[in-house]
Symmetry: D2
Subunit: 341 residues, 4 copies
């Protein structure tokens, strides 16, 4: 199995766990092994209700272990987002701006032109994060191109373009192909792809943002897209900004199975003979999961909160605000949200 | 526990199973008992890819068993809807029209005025069925009221009004209160409530329509609304037309737990000592389910297919077409869909 | 012709001019008469790019002259809104909050419960202001009712409900009837109706907000609704907040006719015989306007900028922010926009 | 002035009239000249409430006169569309399908792959025709590419892709550039561009469809886009399908001016001295129009009916149905609308 294949669909290879978050991959892997993972550098910071977690996958081994390509992954976790805590939203927006600037190496490079891509299906609420964020960005490239109104944006603004390519079922065209061809024309110095992700743990839905310089790998995101959107395929660095908005149904089903085994063990004592449950291997478990989810393929069902609309609106505004400030330094004076269209 | 309380939230009382479909309640109850349920009349028909199932709950006992109020429940099941089979869509629309006419006793009563209510949250794809259907109905009440253009609808049309009351999180007002007050003013002879439902079985999502003369009971629907929309609360007969678009996450989790027990039994033989699994009672199971779904309340998470947009568009057009023909006999000449706005 | 009839459709009776803005009615009337209008009190203030104009129609005579019911009308004009001037947007939001508080007499009355109504058709961009604003309000009534989460909003929040009743073509029901019946149920102390208006002058589109305690009179707004939404019809005070988003095509056509006459006079001298143009009376002009606009009724066509989406988004956020702060004093600490859903 | 420049912005050069419809250009030009226009071939047919008008601009001279590039223009006019006449809608859909097949030379060429482009701004109701139509098309390219489900579309279906590129104000990228780059990748044999147009006469709004093999020329459409979408720029034949949904405000203003002159002449007799009015030349008129429309540029205001949502929905469904049948011959068996997503 090639490395690329391993990375397909966000699975942690040895555990059969699907998550788009590096921080979760690390958590799960560490549960099952002793000692540190070589080639993995991590760092955690706390600020006012937000946990900033930085994972650096530095070599092939760590990459294989975690099922994610080598690169930097920053996670911002803000559990209080669920309570519509305005102060936390503001802080998160500031942190996002700062970390995007860092990961994308934007500092003091005002001439960098950026193309933002809103991935996902605008007709499906949990998959609409990307298109929602794109709607609220301050787009300026046409002004820079036409020059005529350039005065409007003299200093402190970058040339930014943005679009939402839709999904293959709507267009008949691979999302990655659309982005590749437009990037070849627009020739940005940097692409930022915003996407709805799948988490492993329910509490991370809508409370977590991941920023990575690895781009969007095949099989990740709510729609499990086929073609990667990475520096390799697009030709310029690709920063991915994602928020988990769903957990795959198969994750929940797997969790339920583990819970019942745990409950059995708790009663009987850890050393009790588990019978079928103890011998339960990865393949059998996958098969059982598939059975429970028939007639759907096990990766075609998502679990998401009923109040998804509220959560999605909040977090997409936080991200749009953070990106606006990261991309247009001038906007941090007013707060990025103020320029929302 | 009063009968009404038992009916709260669509649970089958003795099984702890949540479904808004009478046909599923019956299926599940029959699995666990021997002999017929007294006071339950059922009838099944097949037509060209569609199964028509009629359940008549005739007394209190059957009502208690199935966890649904007494009344008529017609289910139309069309598994081929998933393949975008146009012929099946057309047939389903015709069957829907026919059964609505029957259940609502509309035949030869052209002077019946109807108010259609699209329940649910238009911002959440799986909950948007009601508002989507309302958008595609031929609304005529204002023409009848103003009379000036009445000529347009001389024969074969009924006075129809329609609106979508939103959900409490959007308006701050109980949906039921909004409907009650508007009904008191508009004074329709009949209310039809269109709603997205929760099923017990995944294969019923987007392939099944339920028509009932019991209205919408508290706790049913995707949003688990609090106040019923029934003849009792509104003052005129209420027909509910619903399509399951989600399965509750707790249902899937429960299913996973059962699957693992079944798998254990299959290996060990049915009579093998199950230990914790065998003694596993309803309450323990509920508690374990709640644990798996933390930090969400067990009824706040839904499972739904990723292609929800496609399915939702198809079935809402089928329903709008069927309702248009049922409400405006003239429209059956052209096919109800043709008048879609 | 009764006074009410005179008020129908926002016309200034003697001039045949259609405007929903009192400030324009006054401007136009003053152009054609000498001396002050008795019973009219006016007051103008400037602040940082915003002109605050207060018109108080105190008696029947002034009401007849201006074609508007007696009451207070505050206009906030901010021409720089067109340039997306963030500072002006912020100031306007603050002024709006302050003037709504004043006109609605909300000061120090935290127990006043408010129902906000978003008038207009969400499917027609220039008529979608009301529904757009409603989407961005902080709705709290259900929390107050249920009490369970009341702690969330202990001090500094009012009980606010909000909905968009749609338009008659969509529902078959008069908008006013829907509002009356829901108000009778919800029993708010105050209704605020947000609406898209028609202006007389193009430069006022999307740069002007009018706040009035007269409610919404019949025939005003983009859709020229039939039934008033006033203290008389609803039973509690009604504040209307409106933004002109269109000019009626008949206004433009009339303006073009006047321009050509003026141009004729400029060449020939004011005293030159105008022939048909000089004798041109109100009725002839109306007839000619109707002719130019065939096959549409002269009040069924609107003129609006092609960039309507941008303007509409901006101003609706300004208004939602201002209303949030006026209704929830606590929110002024963070800026009302921050609680936008 | 080069020919291309002449074509800019849909103006008929000698008359200062803006229309995207060849049939109107011809009408207006013929009013002002005697004898036929050399190089212009026309043909009219009537069918059941629909007028089919074919204009063939065969040489440079006719092109200069009409302000449209050489090519075929078919107009389908159906005034009864306004009354929601279902029979006329059906007929129009059939005619559209037939004429698209003809103009695009699709007959017996099932292997032609087609890319449909929905031009315009989805946030502005009168400009949303293209995106609306794209939403209702049967998209198949991905199925053909992946082959796996090809069986679904064995015979009678073509490979169709479709997307809506947005407008420059939303993306920062010229619409034409987006289309060029995606076309270079997707390599369709034919592009069909669907667009909202500007008419000269009010009665043509929403009752007329134009099909042309000249593509979309710069300056046409509601948004007056800068870059053409033509065989020259895209590299494969481009068919444009358009519906006028607006009249420019400057057209209405010009019409009002002409009406008043006509009225003057009628009273005084045609030979009466018109003074300024008679000598009124093109430039003066343009200047006066600009004055009336201040502070907007004369091409930034549109006139459109208040019921635009109803009209837009109807006609976009008619066009989607017609295109579906033209592109997928198999679908004519069921009626193209039936496959609407």
């Amino acid at each position: 199995m090639s490395c690329t294949e391993k990375h397909r669909d966000g699975y942690i290879p040895d555990l059969g766990i699907r998550t788009d978050l590096a921080v979760e991959a690390r958590e799960e892997v560490e549960k099952h092994r002793q000692g540190e993972i070589p080639g993995l550098e991590t760092d955690t910071e706390q600020d006012d209700g937000i946990t900033i977690n930085r994972v650096h996958i530095k070599n092939r081994e760590a990459s294989m272990q975690l099922g994610k390509p080598p690169g930097k992954y920053v996670t911002l976790e803000a559990p209080e987002l669920k309570d519509k805590n305005v102060r936390v939203e503001d802080r998160l927006s500031v942190w996002l701006s700062r970390e995007v600037e860092q990961v994308a190496e934007l500092k003091d490079r005002e001439d960098v032109s950026v193309m933002v891509v809103g991935l996902g299906n605008w007709n499906v609420t949990p998959d609409s994060l990307g298109p929602k964020v794109v709607e609220d960005l301050l787009v300026t490239r046409h002004v820079f191109e036409l020059k005529q109104e350039k005065g409007m944006f003299s200093n402190g603004f970058r040339s930014v373009s943005a679009f939402s390519p839709g999904v293959m079922g709507l267009t008949g065209i691979e999302t990655g192909e659309i982005i590749q061809s437009i990037a070849a024309r627009v020739k940005p110095d940097l692409v930022i792809a915003v996407d709805a992700l799948a988490a492993h743990r329910l509490e991370r839905m809508h409370t977590t943002v991941q920023i990575t310089n690895t781009g969007v790998i095949p099989g990740s995101g709510v729609q499990n897209r086929r073609l990667g959107i990475t520096e390799e395929t697009i030709g310029v660095p690709v920063i991915a900004v994602g928020v988990p908005t769903v957990v795959e149904a198969s994750t929940i089903v797997g969790g339920a199975m583990e819970a019942i085994v745990r409950s059995y063990q708790e009663e009987k004592g850890e050393s009790a003979p588990l019978g079928v449950l103890g011998n339960f291997n990865w393949n059998e478990k996958q098969e059982l999961i598939r059975e429970v989810l028939v007639p759907f393929n096990e990766d075609r069902l998502m679990v998401t909160p009923k109040e998804i609309d509220d959560f999605a609106d909040n977090i997409s505004q936080v991200i749009a605000g953070g990106l606006n400030t990261a991309l247009h330094p001038k906007m941090s004076e007013n707060g990025g949200g103020k320029y929302l269209q």
